[in-house]
């Protein structure tokens, strides 16, 4: 038996939460910020990439292949390779996490756009809708369910991945998990942070699902 087993070290402790409310809140806030920034940047990059791949068919394989290549690189390795350039900063974490969202976002955008029925586009064209309006008013709204499905997967994975940011000192709730590890395996700290992390993922998923329902009233059955 290890020494710490002789001392009470409960998994759940109200005292821990009360005494460390500020630190928990700060870590949660960092976690949410890192997730939001990374997923938003990912979407901002994925849309032009997907449109490019759709416009120039020959680019589709390299674009999807490149995002797949990025996805295969383990996050810890990517942070380690980035750190000499971007330092032990939140930027390192955001670059890495953004890179990971690209695969699923680009793939789902392409799938969503190619799923828009041809006769709908034909009808819009017949009504005099130009290419930009076609994209914004016809194609993207119809692709929305696929895009949101991708966003949900990307967001949930990102929430989990933020914890690895601990290696460069910006891991949101991962900071608490690691400090609990270093603090003689302080179970309450480790467990509270883990539960909050999973809860964040579930809440984010539910919010995105709700947003999709609101944005696509026609899909309601």
């Amino acid at each position: 038996m290890l020494a710490q087993d002789e001392f009470p070290n409960p998994w759940i402790s109200v005292d821990y939460v009360r005494d460390n409310a500020d630190a928990i809140l700060a870590a949660t806030r960092q976690h949410v910020t890192l997730t939001l920034v990374s997923v938003a940047l990912g979407l901002l990059l994925a849309v032009p990439l997907a449109l490019l791949a759709r416009r120039f068919r020959r680019l589709e394989t390299p674009v999807v292949g490149f995002t797949g290549f990025l996805y295969t690189v383990p996050s810890l390795a990517l942070f380690a390779v980035l750190a000499p350039y971007t330092g032990l900063t939140a930027t390192t974490v955001v670059i890495g996490l953004t890179a990971y969202t690209l695969l699923v976002l680009v793939r789902n955008l392409l799938a969503g756009l190619s799923g828009v029925p041809a006769d709908v586009k034909e009808a819009a064209r017949g009504m005099g809708v130009g290419p930009v309006r076609m994209l914004l008013r016809v194609e993207l709204p119809l692709a929305l369910p696929a895009v949101v499905a991708g966003l949900r997967v990307a967001t949930v994975s990102t929430v989990a991945l933020v914890t690895v940011g601990v290696v460069v000192g910006h891991g949101g709730l991962g900071q608490l998990i690691f400090s609990g590890f270093n603090n003689n395996l302080y179970r309450a700290e480790i467990f509270t942070a883990t539960v909050l992390c999973v809860l964040l993922a579930l809440v984010a998923d539910a919010l995105l699902l709700g947003a999709e329902r609101l944005l696509t009233p026609w899909a309601r059955r």
């Binding site: 810890l76 000499p84 994975s157 989990a160 690895v164 290696v167 690691f178 590890f181 883990t194 999973v198």
Partner: protein
């Protein structure tokens, strides 16, 4: 912090240094540690998940459970599980690492194999039945061969994920190539951390590409490609 050019040089210097490659903390020794832990985890996950997945797919039940498990595993941070396990009686060391890795390999193996068997063409299944095959024979001679590409896709996905998670294990006292990253960051030697990052990335890509090649070999011709040839990816690690 120096200019990027010298950082590339520093990283290269670390990777080319003879010392990096020798001894019990050299790259070959760390690679063996990494592969032994990862390999045992993938094998264990296969032993646990494949029979269950094949059976569930064969009888066409438990879909909600399988998909739910895959989704839930995406929301749980691997890093948290590694630390949580160390704080339980499982404790430190390779055993804890393997347990954590198995936990994260099972959903990928399970989901893909389950979907592969479940989605086998009804006609093929009924034809086999009509030829007088028993349920076991249908599974072994019809469903399993047709599901093989997806079964392998699951194993490939799980392997890449396990190799990645095994890296993280260095942070809870494990060995493997992750040590270079953990020690590099620990000592403020970013060239060492980056060198370790390059090695780990190469290993992950190598596993992905080689298992992808195996998977393509068993895939049916282009005309008969199953709808989900790439498999179902779980979360990144």
């Amino acid at each position: 912090m120096g200019a990027p050019v010298s950082l590339v040089a520093d990283t290269a210097a670390f990777l080319l240094d003879g010392e990096t490659w020798t001894g019990s903390s050299g790259v070959p020794a760390r690679l063996v540690e990494h592969l032994v832990v990862s390999g045992s985890a993938v094998l264990l996950a296969m032993v646990l998940a494949l029979p269950l997945a094949l059976w569930l797919g064969h009888v066409g039940r438990g879909g909600l459970l399988v998909v739910g498990l895959a989704n839930a595993s995406r929301a749980v941070p691997t890093f948290a599980v590694l630390v949580l396990l160390v704080a339980t009686p499982v404790g430190f060391g390779d055993r804890a690492t393997v347990v954590a890795l198995v936990l994260f390999a099972v959903p990928a193996v399970l989901t893909n194999a389950y979907v592969g068997v479940r989605d086998v063409d009804r006609d093929a299944r009924e034809a086999a039945r009509g030829m007088g095959m028993s349920g076991w024979q249908v599974l072994r001679r019809v469903e399993l061969p047709l599901a093989l590409p997806l079964v392998l896709a699951g194993i490939r996905t799980a392997s890449v994920q396990v190799v990645a998670t095994a890296t993280l294990a260095a942070y809870v006292g494990g060995g493997g190539l992750g040590r270079f990253i953990a020690d590099g960051f620990g000592r403020g030697d970013l060239a060492m951390a980056a060198g370790g990052g390059v090695l780990v990335a190469l290993l992950a890509l190598l596993v992905e590409v080689s298992l992808g090649a195996v998977q393509r070999r068993v895939e049916p011709g282009p005309g008969r490609r199953p709808p989900v040839a790439t498999g179902i990816a779980p979360g990144q690690v």
